[in-house]
């Protein structure tokens, strides 16, 4: 990661609750204007990390630095780290405009100014005309945008997002992803986005941080992580990968399903024999599941035409190969 003047730096940050360690020592730099996604399975510590950044939890050890200033003792309400909540946390007793103005009101901005700025943001997010509505009169997507406007109206350097799209229907998710990406580019501010969804993280982020069991497993651009997972955990969590024993002891080989070739006859000596188990429709392609010689599960992604040509039946023997450059070595 670039060392020049990160906006946020986590240095050796840990968080424990009694004997339970939620975050076990993370080091992370987040740059200005970056869209960073923190991704991992539930319980990996990603939300705790975000909450520590917002000041809602205090780190048990380590420092969190924001814009050069160590924030450990700064209470939540004195930080400039607006958060878009998973439940959105819109105030039900305030209307749309009042919700959006809230942060400005807390800072003592004059009524006229906050009114104007709130209206500007509502218009920007396509909510013109909604300012006097009550929250329960809005749809899920509209509420999302109110939550966004509320967090952005104070023009912060950074926006935190805690699984904001998890409650939306699938088609809305796609649309909101577009809204978020565009917004981030236009504003040029840092987005720190926590999610358990691969597709969200990979679609929007400049860099992805994979967390597992309280630790950072890998940081990198989406493509890097997808094509070159560093550990077994990442390989199993991200994408569809086959993990095979390596040539040397202490090594394993990762071959992505879409790089795995299936043939009816043995093409070369290195090919793996496998019995066909089942197929899974994945939209534009099909995932085929096989059982290898040692009982391990193998997967290969094929097109419709390839599937038709193979015409597999359960128990039928096939051969799996991959190009040498398609495999990737990880240390166990």
């Amino acid at each position: 990661m670039t060392d020049q003047d990160p906006l946020v730096r986590f240095a050796g940050v840990r968080k424990s609750y009694g004997t339970f360690e939620a975050v076990k020592g993370i080091d992370l730099d987040i740059g200005r204007g970056e869209f960073v996604a923190i991704m991992g399975p539930s319980g990996c510590g990603k939300t705790t990390t975000l909450r520590m950044l917002a000041g809602l939890e205090a780190p048990s050890a380590g420092d969190i630095t924001l814009d050069g200033r160590v924030m450990n003792d700064v209470p939540a309400h004195e930080r400039d780290t607006p958060l878009v909540w998973q439940s959105l946390a819109l105030f039900p007793f305030l209307n749309v405009r009042e919700n959006v103005e809230f942060g400005l009101k807390m800072r003592g901005v004059s009524k006229m100014d906050s009114h104007g700025r709130a209206m500007m943001w509502l218009e920007r997010l396509g909510l013109k005309g909604f300012e006097n509505r009550r929250i329960d009169q809005l749809s899920g997507g509209q509420r999302q945008r109110v939550a966004l406007a509320r967090s952005l109206v104070t023009e912060p350097q950074m926006l935190l997002l805690d699984e904001p799209l998890s409650a939306l229907d699938a088609h809305l998710v796609i649309r909101m992803q577009g809204v978020l990406t565009r917004l981030q580019r236009e504003l040029g501010i840092t987005f720190v986005y926590v999610t358990h969804s691969q597709s969200e993280a990979f679609a929007m982020a400049d860099r992805v941080v994979i967390m597992g069991q309280g630790e950072i497993a890998q940081i990198g651009k989406p493509k890097e992580i997808f094509r070159a997972p560093k550990t077994r955990f990442v390989a199993e969590f991200v994408g569809r990968n086959n993990i095979l024993p390596g040539d040397k002891a202490g090594q394993e080989i990762v071959v992505a399903a879409d790089r795995m070739q299936v043939s009816a006859d043995q093409p070369d000596a290195a090919a793996l024999p496998a019995e066909f188990l089942s197929e899974e429709f994945a939209g534009t392609s099909i995932i085929c599941y096989f059982e290898g010689a040692n009982g391990e599960e193998l997967k290969a992604q094929v097109t419709e035409e390839e599937l038709e040509a193979l015409d597999p039946a359960p128990g039928q023997r096939f051969w799996l190969t991959w190009a040498p450059e398609a495999s990737h070595v990880i240390t166990v």
Partner: protein
């Protein structure tokens, strides 16, 4: 409708008749011209109301009851809210004991509370004063206020407070600007309910009051005399007051649960 359903409905109706009969008959007889309540009824009259409410001691008693109820309800509601918020937001050692302390008063028989309060307030020099009764009623009403506020807090997205902090509100400000507005229906509901409890409560007030009589105490003393239909009149007014308060209290808390 099954035949057994009919039986059940008749039974339910009978129960409601039993529960409300004393109230309804009291109201009917308060307008009845006969001195002794019998069937068939006499003629309609407001004579008993006029007589009862021409007595200065009745007005004084009502005045006392009102002052006490207003003050005790305010204190009960505050205490109840504060305790409910503590329960909602914080976990701490001995929390179970803490909550038991908050919720125990209704389980102590009123005669005992009356005796204990009398002795204690006597030590503090507060026996026989309205303040003493206010204190006693606060202790008795606070658990109900706490239950109502706790119910409402349960409905609050726990992120709401944190969202307020996140947007720059200090904890105190967040309480003022987010939590209390959200809880407002519960606060009003708790106020009404504890006011009703105080308005009706007589045993402890009797022990503690000495000469400053509240309405129920006054009723008690009249009762110890003989049958007097003025009691029906007074009782009807008392009942209607508390009933209105309890109904308001329930409507407030029910409407919000729908949201």
């Amino acid at each position: 409708m099954k035949p057994s359903d009919l039986v059940f409905r008749v039974y339910l109706a009978a129960i409601f008749v039993f529960v409300f009969a004393p109230i309804v008959t009291s109201m009917i007889f308060s307008f009845n011209s006969d001195r002794f309540p019998t069937v068939p009824l006499g003629s309609f009259t407001t004579h008993w109301y006029q007589t009862a409410f021409s007595r200065p001691e009745v007005w004084t008693a009502f005045g006392n009851s009102l002052i006490i109820a207003v003050c005790a309800a305010a204190l009960s509601t505050s205490l109840g809210f504060v305790t409910a918020y503590t329960d909602f937001r914080y976990g701490f050692r001995f929390k179970t004991a803490y909550l038991a302390l908050a919720l125990l008063p209704p389980t102590i028989p009123l005669v005992i509370m009356g005796l204990a309060m009398l002795a204690w307030l006597r030590q503090l020099g507060l026996s026989g004063t309205l303040t003493g009764i206010v204190i006693a009623h606060t202790v008795m009403g606070a658990p109900f206020a706490m239950a109502i506020c706790r119910l409402r807090l349960q409905q609050m997205d726990s992120a709401l407070e944190a969202a307020a902090w996140n947007l720059g509100a200090s904890p105190w400000r967040a309480m003022r600007v987010v939590v209390i507005p959200f809880c407002l229906p519960a606060l009003i509901s708790a106020y009404c309910l504890t006011a009703a409890v105080s308005f009706d409560e007589f045993l402890v007030a009797w022990f503690v009051s000495g000469l400053n009589k509240t309405v129920p105490v006054m009723i008690l003393e009249i009762l110890q005399g003989n049958v007097d239909p003025q009691i029906n009149a007074i009782g009807t007014v008392v009942f209607l007051t508390s009933m209105v308060l309890v109904i308001i209290a329930q409507l407030l808390i029910l409407r919000k649960t729908a949201r």
